[in-house]
Amino acid sequence: MSGQAPEHILWIDSADPQEALALTGAKMGRLAEMSRDGLSIPLAFAITIDGFREHVGSAGLDEVIDAHLAEVDPDHSESVEKAATAIRSAFRDTPMAPELAEEIEAAYDELSDRCSDLNVPVAVRSSATGEDSADASFAGIFDTYLGISGAQATIEAVRDCWASLFTTRAVDYRLKRGISHHDMPMAVGVVELVHARASGVAFSVHPVTGKADRIVIEANWGWGEAVVQGLVTPDHVEVGKADRRILKHTVSSKDVVSAFDFAAGVVVEVPMPGRLRERACLNEEQIAAIADAVLLIEERYGYPVDVEWVVSRHRREGEPIAIVQSRPVTTAVQEAAPAAYDPMALAQKYIFAGGR
């Protein structure tokens, strides 16, 4: 890329994964990897870190940020909060440079065209860069906006994502670890919003016990936000990796659904309609398709992963499941289940040690 003007927009389906990782952060970079690996990924482009840098640089935000951070006393949470709030309002008050806004608008329109839609609803997702585990460490700290529709709304959401680099939690986290925000510029992904029939998360290792012989799936009707944010007790499925057999399928009473509010143009959490509450939101075929995708991702990465998946309303049996996010799992993987039966060792471990 040397010699050329920095790119502000990167299309995920045609990007080189390494370049995507460097320019658009872990979240979008992994989408590019998965796209290359043949997984079913929604159409997406990203505003690169160069776009972010240009915005904060040219609009004078850098100076504002540095000035506020210089006054922070890291030991006083009030002081951290005050600086973070001031920086975020500076982001909101600073308009985007017209050239960048035009680029985003053009990319958004192209995305709409490619999706055969007019103002295609999108998910606008923060995609942090910098340290390797930035994505995991900052999980849930940066903003994601689901169901944004229209170029202007998208541009607003992009600015909000940028600003979320300076939430109180994020600022506090960096201060405590001595990380400069300059080292983690914020890319933003604009991703076609898959029309979700059901969504959720899946782990290629049990997230609690660390057992690596199974895939664990948690599912809810609609979009995955209610599951990700822990607002609902989702259906719980466990699938054995060796033979893809369903080991457990617990259907929960699901009280909340993330649904698309057409009037507001966003995905919101609403009470689950009674007829869906007790119904299993996945069938065996869908579970198998999710397991296929999770195993493929784990195999390509070579380490356990958790993924966010969506069963599209338009998906037909046999088609792949849409993957909207994946990342290395943070659970410590347990040693393999004992394949042999050793009663003394088992009794010693579980009973005689007072474990019952």
């Binding site: 012989d213 289940a337 039966y341 050793d342 088992l346 019952r356």
Partner: protein, 577 residues
């Protein structure tokens, strides 16, 4: 804070009138059997359900040689990693047990290494090892059965008495040598199932549906029942009290005589068993066939015959269904380990052995001691043969060896009979536990063998808060629901008076209680767990059973209407008054 239940009332220097125990007179392995002292209050003691009648002076040989020596010998030699066996004390005439823990983690680890080296061979060859031990007990048994005490001299009887004690002691070394490794195997499997996220309350089912000697005896009793009906004896049984049946039937001749021949043949095979575990005070069925005849009498009164084939088939089907359901939740890797565990535990089957071994050991091996003691008493001029059972070992051997006359003990024996009767009648109100009651019991032996699980402890600790308890809870040990009239039994003495459809309420059951399960609608026990005798037999017979209820025998009274839910472990009491 742990609860402390005072044992002041039971602190004494004497066991019975006129006998101060010299603790050194019998060798001990880790800890001797002795009377309670104040320091014992720091330990946890539980009233052992195996001896609901209490023990006579000679019966205390069991406490020394079986309870203490047998458990400690096996636990030290195998060894059992977390414990050195059991010790026990006497409250009046009632046995309170307590585990001897190994404290040092290093020692537990070393003991686990040794057990781990021993266990694979034991499990692989369990059938032949158990057969060998059974043969050993059987050889000893044949020796004593062949003796005719009536024609033996006093020195010969003295020799027999000492041989009988050695035989009894050795039988309990074998008992615990076999029991502990089986228990370790079971607990290892239990730990694995729990780790795999399986419902551990199902584990008992994985191991059920295997025939035992005790069940075989029950089938024979049903055959005799059928034969009695065919011989037209149903009316005789109906109108005759169990204790009068022998005389009545013998006096009838004809088909009754033929039936009695059949019955006596049965006794020769199955009749050398007592109505309770390890107690010289208990006669065998040969000596007193009232329990067997009483059982047959109540079987005859039952409209429907217990279908053993059907019950066994049901138990097997339930087993296979439970195993399949568990396997379906496991990954392929886990299934490999689970299958190996199931196979190992079915082949070296702890719950099965817990029932089966009673036929060979617990219900039998006290009999030679009893025969010798009674013969010596009779030979030395006792008023009644049972007087021999009211002497302590040093006293009885002195009499047998001609050093003392039985007569010199006459007044003591009389006092001891009264002492026994006094404490015997107090059984129902004996504290279930003494000393320092822990918040939780972790010792697997206490949990699995004695049923001292959390349910039991909770019930004990909640005791005395209200007299108005209507709903009790315990461990759901055998599924199904039933409602009926409660019959509370403190021991098995009058068990044959149970009527069909009644609900058995007791401290706990032993193999001699098994025939009752063909009659009762449900069973409720103070103690026990998923693997106690009542739980196993309840499942085999399809009788709803709830164990570890804690104070069922205190709260429920004869005649109360009781509803037992074996699926939830709930017992609802509708007081009759």
């Amino acid at each position: 804070m742990s609860t402390i239940i005072s044992l002041d009332e039971f602190i004494t220097d004497e066991w019975y009138p006129g006998f101060k125990p010299a603790f050194e007179h019998a060798p001990y392995y880790v800890e001797p059997f002795r009377t309670f002292n104040k320091a014992d209050e720091e330990r946890f003691w539980f009233l052992d359900f195996h001896w609901p009648r209490g023990l006579t002076p000679l019966g205390l040989i069991w406490n020394e040689d079986g309870y203490n020596w047998g458990t400690q010998y096996a636990a030290e030699n195998l060894p059992l990693p977390p414990g050195r066996g059991l010790t026990n004390r006497i409250g009046g005439i009632h046995l309170y047990g307590s585990p001897i823990d190994v404290q040092s983690p290093y020692e537990i680890g070393e003991r686990a290494q040794r057990m781990g080296a021993y266990l694979p061979n034991f499990l692989q060859n369990f059938d032949s090892i158990w057969a060998e031990r059974r043969d050993e007990v059987e050889r000893g048994w044949q020796h004593f059965v062949a003796l005719d005490t009536a024609s033996m001299s006093l020195p010969e009887l003295s020799m027999m008495l000492k041989e009988a004690r050695a035989f009894h002691k050795r039988a309990f070394e074998i008992h615990f040598e076999i029991m502990y490794p089986l228990l370790v195997n079971y607990l290892g499997f239990y730990g694995m199932c729990a780790e795999m996220g399986l419902d551990v309350s199902q584990i008992g089912k994985f191991l059920q549906g295997y025939d035992t000697k005790i069940m075989e005896t029950d089938r024979e009793l049903w055959k005799l029942t059928r034969a009695a009906k065919q011989a037209g004896l149903a009316d005789v049984f109906a109108r005759t009290e169990p204790q009068d049946l022998v005389a009545t039937l013998d006096g009838m001749g004809g088909s009754a005589a033929a039936w009695m021949t059949q019955f006596r043949d049965f006794l020769q095979v199955y009749g050398y068993r007592t109505e309770g575990s390890c107690d010289v005070a208990l006669p065998s069925w040969i000596e007193d066939p009232t329990p067997a005849l009483g059982t047959i009498k109540s079987f005859i009164a039952k409209e429907e015959e217990h279908d053993f084939e059907k019950a066994l088939a049901g138990a097997i089907e339930e087993r296979e269904t439970a195993i399949d359901a568990a396997r379906s939740q496991l990954t392929a890797e886990e299934q490999t380990a689970f299958d190996a565990g199931v196979a190992s535990c079915q082949a070296a089957n702890f719950p099965w052995w817990q029932d089966d071994h009673n036929y060979y050991i617990d219900l039998k091996v006290s009999l030679p001691l009893r025969w010798a003691a009674r013969a010596i008493a009779e030979r030395t001029g006792a008023d009644q043969a049972d007087d021999g059972l009211f002497l302590f070992w040093p006293e009885l051997t002195a009499v047998a060896d001609g050093e003392k006359s039985l007569d010199s003990y006459k007044s003591l024996i009389e006092a001891r009979h009264q002492y026994f009767d006094h404490w015997h009648s107090r059984r129902a109100s004996m504290p279930k536990v003494l000393g320092t009651v822990p918040e939780a019991v972790t010792d697997p032996v206490l949990i699995e063998i004695f049923g001292l699980n959390q349910h039991f402890l909770n019930a004990i600790q909640a005791a005395g808060t209200d007299g108005d308890v209507k709903t009790l809870t315990g461990v759901p040990a055998s599924k199904g629901k039933a409602r009926g009239k409660a019959r509370v039994f403190n021991n098995a003495d009058n068990l044959h008076t149970l009527e069909t459809g009644e609900i058995l309420v007791c401290e706990s059951t032993s193999p001699n209680w098994t025939p009752a399960f063909a009659k009762i609608a449900a069973c409720v026990c103070d103690g026990g767990g998923m693997l106690s005798h009542a739980a196993i037999v309840g499942r085999e017979y399809g009788v709803p059973t709830v164990t570890a209820v804690g104070l069922a025998t205190v709260v429920i009274e004869d005649g109360d209407e009781v509803e037992v839910d074996g699926d939830t472990g709930t017992v609802t009491v509708y007081k009759s008054s």
